[in-house]
Amino acid sequence: MTITAKYFGLIADFTKEIEEEFTIEKSDFSTEDLLNDLKQKYSELQETSFVIAVNKNITSENLNLKNNDIIALLPPFAGG
């Protein structure tokens, strides 16, 4: 399956990308698996506070990902 990770604010500063597509060989792959891979790739993520949104819904659960899912990494909000 193919999934997209989106990066915002402070996080996009160190990923140097605002979006990345990943092709996953396994059929069983969760948000936690993705975050573990990303923390390997971007060590700064380990000291960054953020929440994740799967297909625009914020979630704190460990969800199984499907083909075409969009996972956003969102640092603290600062509207207003």
């Binding site: 604010g9 949104a53 956003a72 640092p75 909000f77 207003g80």
Partner: protein, 147 residues
């Protein structure tokens, strides 16, 4: 057939005082309204570790944020007896002294507008995926966090 479109809340750059005046003027034909309440967020020239903020550059997860604005707006109509409400938030660069958030509620009677406005502003601060880069006079920056 009319398609229901989600009203957009984001606007490019600062929100002009004149735009706010015009929004108020547009409500003067709604003669069931007795009270308006308006919140404006203005960019402060804060001092952070000896450096002065000169602007905030706003970015957002736009598709998600517009959906959040929509949900917050619907929740306010559900909770409070409002005639209308409007939310505008800046994207891009907003200099100190300029306005980055404009929330406008109107109702037949006043008691409800205070609560509705506070609800809206607090929800926007907490739930909308907006990010702000506080840019200093020397062009370095830091990422803003809401308190």
């Amino acid at each position: 057939m009319e398609k229901k479109t989600i009203k957009k809340s984001f606007t490019q750059g600062a929100i002009a005082a004149e735009f706010i005046g015009n929004s108020i003027a547009k409500h003067q034909n709604k003669t069931s309204i007795g009270a308006h309440n308006i919140f404006l967020g203005q960019v402060r020239a804060d001092e952070i570790e000896g450096k002065i903020v000169s602007a905030i550059e706003y970015s957002a997860y736009e598709e998600m944020a517009e959906q959040s604005f929509y949900e917050i707006r619907e929740a306010a109509f559900e909770k409070y007896d409002l005639t209308c409400l409007h939310i505008y938030h800046s994207l891009g660069l907003v200099k100190t002294g300029e306005i980055c958030l404009f929330v406008f509620v109107s109702a037949p009677r006043r008691k409800v507008v205070y609560k509705a406005l506070e609800f809206l502003v607090e929800e926007i601060k907490e739930k909308v995926a907006i990010f702000g880069k506080e840019i200093f006079e020397d062009e370095t920056y830091t990422w803003k966090k809401n308190s």
